[in-house]
Every structure is written in C-alpha cells, then in structure tokens.
C-alpha cells in the first residue's frame, strides 16, 4: 500500500520535469460601476486547477498556455465572468451580483461546488465570521450560525465536551457526533480527557462546510450518518506577503449565580426540618426532657460541628460558598500572527497563535499554542504538491467531573455557617465542612493535561489533461497527551493516604490516505459532467498507560518518583481500520438541471467477517427554475432552485472496536492473573444505517437582496445498535444488537437579507430556524419502553417518543394537609405520598423542538457591529442534584432559595414539601426537578472600528481594527439552575441529555482587541 503510493509519487515527480510552453498575462479586476479595485478575486485558467487571486489593488498575474486560455474570474458579491486571455494584459470589470451566497464555492467531500449548483444541503460558515471569538472550541464558535446544527457545551468548563448534533440524534449507542475532516483528512474525535476539538485553532480556518443531508454526506459513507464538518484552512495567495496580527484581552465571569440559603436561613430551616422529623416521631424536641436523641439534638450537634470556631447561634459566620467555586480573576488573552502570500507557483500561509483562557471555575484553564504551515507548490502546469500541517500544544488545568466531591461546584453543598478559614488561617476541612472541601482540592491539588497534536497532510495532484486529474493525500493526526494529577494529604483523594498522584499517557495515531481521480468536462456547451472516483484507507490506533500511587513525603514532591506506594498501573491499546471505495458524478444540463449520484463501499474492522462491508449510495436532483426562459423578464424572483436528495449513510463509531465478539479479559486475584467474561458475543452485529430524504428550495428575491433556503427532511436510522438488557443469569447484563430504529423529521429555514445597503451604511440580517422531531420507532422488538429512572435521573427510551425523554413520577406538590410530597397515581388524578406507588408519565423531553440563530451586521463608515442571538426552545432540563440541593432539607446540604417556600402549616399550597431532616420527603427523581430549558442568548456581539485608510497608510499598515467583543452577555430563560445550556459531563450521552448536576454555568466573556494588517 505504502510502497505503491511512493512509487506513484516518484512517477509524478519525473513527469513534472516535462516543460510546457506558456506565457504570462496580467491585469486588474475592477467593479464595473465604481471602478474600485476588487481584491481577493479568484482568477482561474478554465479547465485547469491553476489559478491565483488579486492583490489589494485588484491586480493579478498568471501563467497561461501560449495559445491563449479562458480565465474564470469570480469574487464574492460579483457575478462570475469568463474572459479569453491571449495577450499580456487582461483587465476585467465585474458586475455586482447581489447574489452573495450563490456563487460561493462550497467544499464538498473530495472536491468543491458552486453553491448554485448544489443538490444537497450544506451549511457554510466562513472562518472570518468566527475569527477571534474568545472560545476554545470551534463548535462553540459555530453555535447559532448554521441551521440544524445543535451545539451544546456540557458546562462552562473550558476545554471540555461540546455536543454537536446535526439534524437531531441519530443513534442510541453509537456515536452521534459528526465526522470532522480537516483539509480532506478525517481527524480523531477521541482523547483521554477533554475535548479533542479544543486542540484546533479555528483562526486558521477559511471555511466550515457542514454536510447535512445524506446526498452531501454520502461520499463519506459509513462515517457520515451524523453529518460531516469539513474544515478548510487558509491558503496563501500570490502577491506580496500579508501579515496579520491580532491581540485580544478579556475577562470571564459566570453567566449566572444560582443562590443558596444564607447562614440565618440555613440554621432556621435546618432546625425546622429537624423539629418536623421529631414531631413525626411523636417527639417534642423543644421539651428539654425529649431533646436527647432527638433529630434536633442531632442537627444542632452538626451545626456545632459545621460552624467550627464560630458560633452559629449568633450568625458569626455567613459564607457564600457558591462564590468560592469561581475564580474572581479569570481572564482570556490571545495573540495571533499570520503571514500569507506567494508567487505564481508557490503559495503559503503561516501562523502562530497563543490563546490563554481561564475557566470561570477555580483550577480550570486552557492554554493553546499552535502553529500552521500551509504550502502549495506548482511543480509544473500539470503537477502540484503541497502540505497543510499544524502543530499545537494544549495545556489544560482540569477539574473533576460533576459528580465528584472534588469538583469545584460541589462546594455549594457546604454549610454557610462554616467559616472559609479556621482560626489558624487554614482552609476549613472535614469534619468542620459537611463534605470534602473542593477548595482544598484546588489549593492543594493539581490536574494538568498537556496535549501535543499534529494534524497534517501532504498531497500531490496531477492533471493528466484539462479534464482528468488525480490527487493523492496522506494525512496524519497524532495526539500525544499526558494528564498529571496530584492531590495533597488534605484533599478528597489524598486523605488517609498522604497524597495521591497519577500519571496518564495517551497516544492516538490516525493515518489516512485518499486517492482519487476527478474528471470534469463540458460537452457541447450544454452538458457539464464532473466525476470523482477513488479509495481511502484509515487506521486508528490508540495506546494508553497510567500509573498511580500514594504516600508522598510532602506537598512539593508531586511526581510519582516520590510516591511511597505505587498502587497500580495499566496499559491498553485499541485499533480499528476502515477501507473505502467511493465514486460520485455530478451532471448539469443546460445550466439548470442537476443530477448527483454517489456511492461508497466501506469496510470496517469493528464487525465480524460476514458483516464487514456496507454499501452507501445517494442520489439527488436539482432544477434551477430561475434559469428557465419563462422566469425571465420578471424582477421579483431572482433565483429559484428546487432540489431533492436521498441517501444512505452508516455508523460504526462509538461502541468499541470489537463489539461483535464474545470477550474475556484479564483480571487479578491474590497476585495471580485470571480470566473473566466481559462481553457477550453477537456475531451478527452490523452497521447502523441511516436513510435520509431531503427536499429543499433555494430562493432569492429582488436581485437576491433577500435570499434563503427551506429544507424539509426525514432521516430514518435502522439497525440501530443497542445494548439490550439480557437476563443477568446469563452471566452478562447486556448484549449489543441491531434492533432499534429512530427517525428525525425536520424543517430548516434560512433567510438572508440586505436590509440597507447604501454607501456609508449597511445592514444585513441572517435568520436560521431548525425544527426537529426525534422519535424512536423501535427498540429491541419486544420492549417498547426502557425506563431509566435510577432515582436521580429519568432519561428513558420509549417507542414513539424522543430519545432520552424524562419518564417517571409526576410530582403533585406538597399535601396541603400534612406537607407530604405527593405524586399522581397512574390515573393521573389521584395522588399518593408513596413514591413506589406513583404512576409513570413522560414529564419532559430534553430534545429541543426548535433551535435558532439570528444575526445582524451593521456597518457605518469605519464602524462594524455584529450581533448574534441564539436560542433553544421546547426542551426540558432535569436537575439530578435536586435530591440534594432542593430536597426539603433531607440532609445537611445547603439548599436552593426556592426551599424557603416550603410547606409550614396545614392549608399551605406549595411545590416544596415539608422540611424533614432524614425524611426523604419527595427527593427521588420526579417532575419536581424537571424544568423548561428554553433560552435565548446574546451569543456574541462585536463592535469594531476600522481606522481610516489615510491613517493606516501613514502607519504603513494595510488595515487596522480595534474591537470590543462579548460572548454570552445576556441570557433570557426561566430555568432556575445555573445555566440552561447544560448536560452534566459525567453521564453525558446520546440518551442521557438535558441533565444538570452541579454543572458549571457557561462563561460570559468581555474582550477588547486590536487587529493589524501590514
């Protein structure tokens, strides 16, 4: 395999030495009306891949065959033009089109298309739209910008998981994440900790092209069931070197504080809860004779303990622990430098970027240093080679997952009567604190991850003729990660063992090769054919090793070399491969009838021999109605295209490398190795398959001043791989089977409008709306309901309902008579105080019905203002920690402020049952802890000032911009928790959505920056 690639390259190199007679033409591209120079216009010699773009002054220079050639000139906002060039000078004027998007080049798998000619649905986000947005993960930058692309950060922890769903959830057990492809090479979406997407510097990105429907995505076959995000990085253009420097600084705050009881409230309510519990036992604890052994005595004993040196009776201490979870000085700083330019033959883009973002949580931060070299060299007219390479170092301060005592947010459970410091100035600790104090874990512990990542590819492209070319790409994605943890003797993990240390090493190696032919030809003016055929192979290998130990001599010696006791260690490896063959043909007749056919055969090592290969075809049709004669002569509708597509994609990711086998793994007993069963076999396991039908209309009114797209789609996933519970008496709990089915139906609307376009003032708007309805249509064939009530969460799988709906008891408030928590019986009317007797209902749905983005751009002279609102509607959130923090004082955890509305006396009507210490009054999972999660957020707002040209020239600059920008500045929601954009990290999954559990609120950022070009 490798050998033949090398051979091929050699052949190319030899052939490249052949000379072709050619000449050079140069000229200037200008606006036909104003005569202004058009910079960055693309100039391509038709039928070849050779091209250039114009400089700041609109000038270009390009080699053409000596016999003359046709140049295709295009630029955003202008109608493309073909001109024949034979002489040395070719000046061209372009007409403003107003069509903006329609001539935009869209990246598709293994090629590009003009947006106008697309038959599939691809959402494009320009890199410049998200440039310098102060977030660490490119998905967060995309949030709200593309219709049907749902982005949700698990919490406000930096560098951690961000869920991306394109057109809803497609799977129960396999991955729901899209495939990410950078410059043609699929990258790894695995890591040991943190989000692997955070390693990517998106300031280097020219465009994100999100393949949403099956026709667009099917060229990625089995990898594409959840859509594909094609990331194209910036390339150089011939012309003088253009330097860009950007510097930015900002502050980070939480979007919201939840608010907990203060010390007087805590004492009052806790005592009330204890007295209530005593009264239920028939004891009056206020009677000194009955006080001993009462709940009240117990509670007051705990208050004595929790208040440490201070006196809770006189409210001596009133600690706001919630504030202590957050870093008051959290900031973001960034510096980006890039240089791009080139000659006719060589083009380059270089960048160096540094980002330092503190999370809002204590101990949470991310620093990323990244560099990129993109280089392209035309060896000859026929042959070009190139390189796109990035190297990054991400260094993250991590915090524990949300269900660990040591995670900063769990600090809210501590009592407000507990002083932050003891009298010696040390942090309060157990037994004065109710639980382990997470602040100690922060102050005396560390959790640092360092990731080196190298994503790159080299390519060679040979043009056999004007019509036929061959491209070979070889890419790697190397991840090298080390997580170092140390927790001192006073911390949660180090207590009792004189400190705990752990070192984890992870290496991911993905290599990938794509080899394909492209054929493009126009026959007798009316027939345009483009065809692609090729193969790709991918090998993913990951290795992991760790070691951990205890008994450290002191706080300073944190490496395992100083551990007195090595407790254990392990090493693991995993490996999977994909082999694929693919082909696609695009045919356009008479510039208005479009057909695309594609097919891909994928083989995966994940499945057994008999089910290894899958075939994934797609077809689509388009009709550009506005090109028809009958549409001419009217001014209203300037563009109209109808399109429809069908395709089949597959999914084999996310359930282990050897899912079909019956496996036994190594275990140890008494210092001797052993074997024990780990996985039940299913030799019949095969691909999940996703069928998608899409109909769309693209339209433009008033010379495309108003344009948009409307799509309806239906995506049916079948043979869903699902881990079906089997009788435990088999010795196993579950078996992976292809049984389920699920569908997503939706409607997407995109509207773009140039509201005002005058010389000085411009205002444009962009609205995207996506309605999606997810429905499980089949589980294992027998069961129609897999209830998920585990006492804390309710995410269930129910046929006919959306994935992960909340299914469980419906809370009926407090019994006005006695304050008992009431639930509805299955009849939905009668109530009971017995949780076990309560009926089960669908009490919420974590899947949004509608997601939306609304952007507005204004420019006035040198000022620019960009405002993006983003919204999520129709979903619910369940607070899994409700049973601790909003629990009618079931235990000593500090309570949320809504508990002040508790039932106190007969006749009280309230949703908060009577406070009962140790009483478990309504604390199990139910609709009590389910709330609407709708929100609208001012996602980003940027106000920029471009310094006047005269000033810039004097400073020998080409551009200078000062800007202020804000992220998540405003959030409108009824959700009472920290932040409605939430899904607690320790259990986040396809089914486990919409749950909150001490998850950090999102980051609100306010930054200023300066951008210079020279």
């Amino acid at each position: 395999m490798m050998k033949s690639t090398l051979l091929l390259l050699l052949v190319f190199l030899l052939s490249g030495s052949m000379a072709w007679a050619q000449t050079t033409t140069s000229g200037k591209i200008t606006d036909s009306k104003s005569g202004a120079a058009i910079s960055n216009a693309s100039v391509i010699v038709k039928g070849t891949s050779s091209g250039t773009s114009t400089g700041q002054d609109g000038s270009f220079r390009i080699d053409i065959p000596s016999g003359g050639a046709t140049l295709v000139i295009s630029s955003l906002g202008y109608t493309s033009k073909e001109v024949s060039a034979s002489g040395t000078t070719t000046n061209v004027t372009l007409d403003a089109s107003g069509t903006k998007n329609l001539d935009e080049v869209v990246v598709v798998g293994f090629g590009t298309r003009i947006k106008k000619d697309l038959t599939g649905n691809i959402a494009k986000v320009k890199g410049s739209d998200v440039q310098n947005m102060p977030v660490t993960n490119l998905n967060q930058a995309l949030q709200g910008r593309a219709a049907g692309v749902f982005v949700e950060a698990n919490s406000g922890k930096v560098g951690e998981g961000v869920k991306v769903l394109i057109r809803g959830s497609g799977s129960i057990s396999a991955s729901n994440s899209p495939l990410y492809v950078i410059d043609g090479i699929p990258i790894s979406n695995n890591s040991y900790s943190g989000s692997p997407i955070s390693d990517i510097n998106f300031n280097d990105v020219e465009s994100f092209d999100i393949l949403k429907d099956a026709s667009a995505a099917a060229i990625y076959g089995s990898r594409a069931a959840n859509g594909v995000v094609l990331i194209t990085t910036k390339k150089g253009r011939s012309g003088k070197t253009n330097f860009q420097v950007n510097s930015q600084y900002g502050v980070n705050k939480p979007t919201h504080y939840r608010g907990f009881l203060n010390a007087p409230e805590y004492v009052a309510l806790l005592r009330e809860a204890a007295i209530n519990s005593d009264n239920l036992d028939g004891i009056d604890p206020l009677d000194p004779a009955q006080y001993p052994d009462s709940w009240l005595e117990f509670a007051e004993g705990r208050l004595d303990r929790y208040s440490g040196w201070s006196d809770w009776r006189t409210n001596q201490t009133n600690t706001n622990w919630e504030k202590k979870a957050f870093d008051p000085d959290a900031m973001t700083s960034a510096l980006d430098i890039s240089a791009s330019g080139g000659t006719d033959r060589t083009k380059y883009y270089l960048s160096l970027s540094y980002l330092n973002q503190d999370g809002i949580l204590i101990g949470n931060r991310l620093k990323r240093l990244s560099s990129r070299i993109n280089l392209e060299q035309a060896v000859s007219d026929k042959f070009k080679i190139g390189l796109n390479m990035s190297l990054s170092q991400t260094s993250a301060g991590r915090v524990q997952v949300d269900n660990e005592f040591a995670t900063p947010m769990q600090i809210v459970a501590l009592s407000p009567v507990t002083p932050f410091y003891d009298q010696d100035g040390n942090l309060s600790t157990l037994p004065v604190t109710t639980y382990n104090n997470p602040y100690i874990d922060y102050a005396e512990g560390k959790f640092k991850a360092v990731i080196y990542r190298n994503i790159g590819n080299i390519f060679g492209q040979y043009n056999f003729s004007r019509s036929l070319s061959f491209r070979t790409e070889f890419g790697v994605d190397i991840q090298n990660q080390n997580d170092d943890q140390f927790y001192g003797p006073n911390t949660t993990y180090g207590t009792g063992s004189n400190g705990y240390g752990e070192s984890d090493w992870f290496r991911g190696l993905t290599y990938n090769t794509n080899n394909y032919f492209t054929f493009k030809k126009n026959f007798s003016q009316k027939h345009d054919l483009e065809a692609v055929a090729g193969m790709s192979f991918q090998d993913y290998n990951s290795e992991f090793a760790n070691v951990y130990g205890e008994q450290f001599p002191n706080q300073q010696l944190q490496k395992l070399a100083s551990a007195g006791l090595i407790k254990g260690g392990t090493s693991r490896e995993s490996n999977s491969t994909f082999l694929s063959y693919f082909a696609r043909a695009n045919y356009k007749f008479n510039n208005r009838y479009l057909v695309t056919l594609s097919g891909r055969v994928d083989g995966s090592s994940v499945f057994g021999n008999d089910n290894r290969y899958g075939f994934f075809p797609a077809a689509s049709l388009g009709w550009i109605v506005s090109e028809e004669n009958f549409m001419q002569g009217q001014k209203l509708l300037s563009f109209l295209k109808l399109r429809g597509s069908w395709g089949l994609t597959g999914n084999a990711d996310g359930f282990g490398d050897f899912a079909s086998r019956g496996l036994w793994g190594g275990v140890a007993y008494n210092g001797t190795g052993g074997l024990a069963s780990t996985q039940l076999a299913n030799p019949d396991l095969k691909w999940e398959k996703s069928n998608q039908l899409d109909f769309g209309i693209d339209f433009g009114f008033f010379n495309n001043r108003i344009s948009g797209e409307i799509d309806v789609y239906k995506r049916k996933t079948e043979d869903l791989i699902y881990s079906v519970p089997v009788p435990g008496n088999t010795g196993y709990s579950n078996k992976l089977v292809n049984l389920g089915a699920m569908e997503n139906k939706g409607l997407e609307i995109v509207l773009n409008s140039d509201n005002v376009s005058t010389r000085n003032f411009k205002w444009s708007s962009n609205l995207n709306l996506a309605f999606n309805k997810n429905k499980i249509t089949k589980l294992d064939g027998d069961q129609t309901l897999i209830a998920g009530n585990d006492g804390r969460y309710l995410n269930s799988l129910i046929v006919g309902e959306s994935i992960g709906v909340f299914y469980g008891p419906k809370f009926a408030g407090a019994d006005p008579a006695n304050g008992d928590a009431l639930y509805y019986l299955q009849d939905g009317k009668t109530t009971t105080n017995d949780y076990n007797a309560a009926g089960n209902f669908i009490v919420g749905n974590p899947n949004p019905k509608l997601i939306a983005g609304f952007g507005n751009s204004f420019s006035y002279k040198g000022f620019e203002l960009n405002v993006l609102f983003q919204g999520v509607f129709g979903n619910q959130i369940q607070n899994g920690a409700g049973g601790f923090m909003s629990a009618s004082f079931d235990w000593f955890d500090n309570q949320t402020r809504d508990q002040l509305d508790r039932w106190q006396k007969p006749g009280d009507i309230t949703q908060v049952p009577q406070l009962r210490l140790g009483g478990g009054n309504g604390i199990s999972a139910s609709s009590r802890y389910v709330e609407d999660g709708d929100y609208v957020r001012l996602k980003s707002v940027t106000l920029a000032y471009n310094f006047p040209a005269s000033l810039i020239r004097r400073a020998k600059l080409t551009s200078a911009k000062f800007y202020v920008t804000g992220v998540n500045l405003l959030t409108f929601t009824d959700y009472k928790g920290w932040d409605p954009e939430v899904n607690t990290d320790y259990r986040a999954g396809n089914r486990n959505q919409g749950s909150d559990f001490y998850a950090a609120p999102q980051i609100k950022n306010f930054s200023v920056g300066l951008n210079l070009g020279f």
Binding site: M1, F464, G674
Partner: protein, 447 residues
C-alpha cells in the same frame, strides 16, 4: 507510454488489497472460544471467578454490609449520601437499587464462569481436574447461597417448597445466545438450598487444598455449616463445624484484634479475601471507616446501643474507636488494604456450640467449652450455657462481619419493627431482571 503507465499505477492503487488490514485483533481481551481450549486458560478462568466473587458487589464487602444494614436496629446508623445502602438501611428498597442489581449480576457472572469451567472440565489436565472441578462447585454453591439469602424468604419462614428461591442455571452461556435455560421460573427455596448443598457436598471430597485465599475442604465445610444452620439442620452444621475445628489446622488467634486488619491470612481464617493496595476490594472498610484511613465519609456509624452490649473488659468492645467527632467506629474495618475474612474459625466454635446444645450432644467439645474458648479469648469468664447466651455471644463475636440478618432470621427475631420473615427484609428481584426476564421471573412479595 509514460501516460499509460501512470494510469495503470493509479488504477492499481485504487484496488490494492488493503482488506487484510481490516483483520484487527484485540489486545486486552481474548475471544471466548479461545478461553476453554487449554488447561492454563481454564485455570485462569477459575482464578477469575475468585476475583469476581471477591469483588465489592459480592463478598468484597457489600453482601456483608447488606446484612448489617438490614439488621441495623439502633446499633448502627447509615449516614452516608449514597441512597442505595440508605434504602436498605431504611428497608424502603426501590426495585432499581443499583447496588442490589450489581450484586445480582456479579453473582450470576461468577456462576456462569463456573458453569463454563464445569462444562469444559475435561480440558483440564487429569491430575488437576478434581481440584478445579471442586473449586468451581464450591464457588457456585457459595454464590447461590449468598444470593438466596438476600433474594428469597429465609428457610425459617417455612413454605420452603413454595416460596420462590432463585433461577438455577447450570449450563454455560456461549456464542452470545440467551437460551430457554435462561428463561426458567424461579426454583423454590427448598430446591435452591438443595442445589447449594449438592454443589458443596460434591466439592468437599475433591477440592483439596488448604485454608486461606482459595477454597478448600474446610472452606466448603464452613460454608456448609452456615447453610445447614439456615436450614435448621443442626447435626449437619455441627459436623461441618467440627470438621473445620478438628482438621483444618486453623487455630484461634490469642488476641481478638489480630483477627482483623491483617496484610496476610490470619491463623484463624478459613476463607479470606486478599486485599492489597494493588488488588482486591473491602467495601466494609470503605463504608465503616473514615476518611482519615482512606475510606468514605464514615458512612456507617456505630451507636452507643451497640457499644453498651459489651462488658467493660471485653476485648471485642475495646476494638471500637472514636473518630474526631466522637462517633464510634468499627475497629475491624479500620485500615485500607487489609485482608477481608469471609469465614473464620471463631464462628465455627459458636456454630458447634449452638448445634451441640440444640441437639444435646457434645461432638468435639461441650457447648460450654466452645463458649469459653471464645469468651476467654475476649478476656471474659464463663457464663451459663443456654441458647440465649450462645445467641448473644454470636452477636458480639461476629458483629459487623455480615452475619447479622442471617442470625436474626433463623432465630426468628424481629428487627426495626419488622418480623424475621417480613417482605421488607428480602431484596426485590432487580427491576432490570424483571424487564429482561421475558415474563417468567416473578417479583418478591411486597415489591
């Protein structure tokens, strides 16, 4: 010509057979077919069964903790945040209690491995075949016994022919197939005990070995003595206990404290689980001890009501210690990474004493002699030999070792207001089993 060669090479590249590259083998696991092809692998699977049985969900602490929580009375209090043990402590158990379903799953996991070993026993070298078979039978019998004690009404409740016991599975699961054998109704309590006895009786003469971390003739006898006690077969219990005392070579530690917190088997251990920093679990330590000793947050507190049971000079009472908040803690489960005795010689003396007393016999020794052996080790003198005193002695000697609810049930006492045969003192069959059971698995009364 050159052009042609490029075409050919490019085309060849596209179809080059990479398909072999799709044959990827796991590196941390082996296919099940491979496990039962060699003597060494089957022996490794046997060691794996010991590992499963010693896991936290089974005898690595949870099963013993369940007994103490069910039989808590006013003597211990669960104060931890985990609601699963709290439900057991309060006897308000939800059918989806994850601790309970883990115990159920791990129990049957061990049973299935045993069934696989027994089905492939002829692959074992003939010289070792009996020993391996005996070990597998011992572990299967042991696990069925632990499960039937938790998930079924006690033998003492009568109706043993009709009260549901466990689903008895004696065939291995292979090729991922869930068969009719997995969809059987629950056997009666009587039949389940009969299976336990059959396995242990069959294991006893062939298992060989010595007392310690693995099963032996004496470990089988010790467990059998417990089984017979539950069944009210006092002669059987007496004879098995006597066999252990007379023949196992184990002897009472002179100092009661030396029975616990050991880093190797004590002289008294009949079957003990090795726990080291690197391997093994001891959930009794995790929940009974405190963070100072690397445990959780002191989830189980010992109350004065229990401490008051001990005579001031009782070495067993002296083993309790006070934590920083003046709460009593069990000294038996104080330190991390210490061996966890499953059954020890002291219990055998008390079992022999009780059975001899009930039967009016003196096999091995008189009940008074056995009682004194236990009491004098604790620094106490003789007491009157009667059933109440023997019962009381068991309560102190075996406190917090996981025998509490079993003794309550067979002595037909009540606890926390619940009769010994109350529904609340029996675990529910886990909800997931009912759901996955295909309708044949019946839930316990009261759930």
């Amino acid at each position: 010509m050159k052009k042609l060669s490029i075409y050919i090479i490019s085309a060849a590249l596209l179809v080059t057979g990479c398909s072999k590259k799709l044959d990827v083998q796991p590196t941390q696991s082996v296919d099940e077919e491979f496990v039962f092809t060699s003597d060494a692998n089957i022996k490794a699977a046997l060691n794996g069964t010991y590992d499963v049985v010693s896991g936290a969900s089974l005898l690595g602490g949870d099963v013993q903790m369940y007994s103490e929580l069910l039989g808590a009375g006013d003597e211990i209090t669960w104060v931890g945040t985990f609601n699963q043990p709290d439900e057991i402590y309060r006897k308000e158990i939800l059918t989806n209690n994850s601790f309970i379903s883990d115990t159920y799953l791990q129990g049957y996991r061990a049973i299935n491995i045993c069934n696989n070993i027994l089905a492939n026993i002829n692959t074992v070298n003939p010289a070792d075949r009996d020993r391996v078979k005996g070990q597998a039978l011992f572990l299967r019998g042991l696990v069925y016994f632990e499960l039937v004690e938790l998930f079924a009404k006690p033998y003492s409740a009568g109706n043993v022919g009709t009260n549901p016991g466990l689903q008895i599975i004696l065939t291995p699961t292979v090729n991922g197939e869930v068969t009719a054998a997995n969809r059987v109704a629950r056997s009666s309590v009587q039949d389940t005990y009969a299976q336990v006895v059959a396995d242990l009786v069959a294991a006893k003469p062939i298992i060989g070995g010595e007392v310690g971390e693995y099963g032996s003739e004496y470990a089988v006898s010790a467990i059998l003595s417990r089984v017979y006690l539950q069944m009210g077969n006092y002669a059987g219990a007496r004879d098995e206990a006597n066999n252990v005392i007379e023949n196992s070579g184990a002897e009472l530690e002179t100092d009661y404290a030396k029975v616990f917190n050991n880093t190797s088997a004590s002289k008294e251990d009949i079957y003990v689980l090795p726990v080291t920093a690197q391997d093994g679990s001891n959930d009794l330590q995790v929940y009974f001890s405190i963070t100072d000793y690397g445990a959780r947050d002191g989830d189980i507190e010992i109350n004065e009501d229990h401490i008051d049971l001990y005579d001031a000079s009782d070495a067993r009472g002296a083993l309790f210690y006070l934590d920083g908040s003046d709460i009593y803690r069990s000294g038996k489960w104080k330190f991390q990474y210490r061996f966890l005795p499953v059954v020890r010689l002291g219990e055998m003396y008390l079992t022999r004493a009780e059975a001899n007393f009930r039967l009016g016999t003196s096999i091995g020794a008189t009940p008074a002699q056995d009682m004194l052996a236990i009491r004098s080790r604790a620094g106490l003198g003789a007491v009157a030999t009667n059933l109440a005193n023997i019962r009381y002695e068991r309560r102190l000697e075996l406190a917090h070792e996981g025998q509490r609810i079993q003794d309550i049930k067979r002595f037909q006492e009540s606890i926390d207001g619940f009769s010994y045969d109350a529904n609340e003192l029996v675990f529910p069959i886990p909800l997931r089993e009912i759901n996955a059971g295909g309708g044949v698995l019946t839930q316990n009364p009261g759930y």
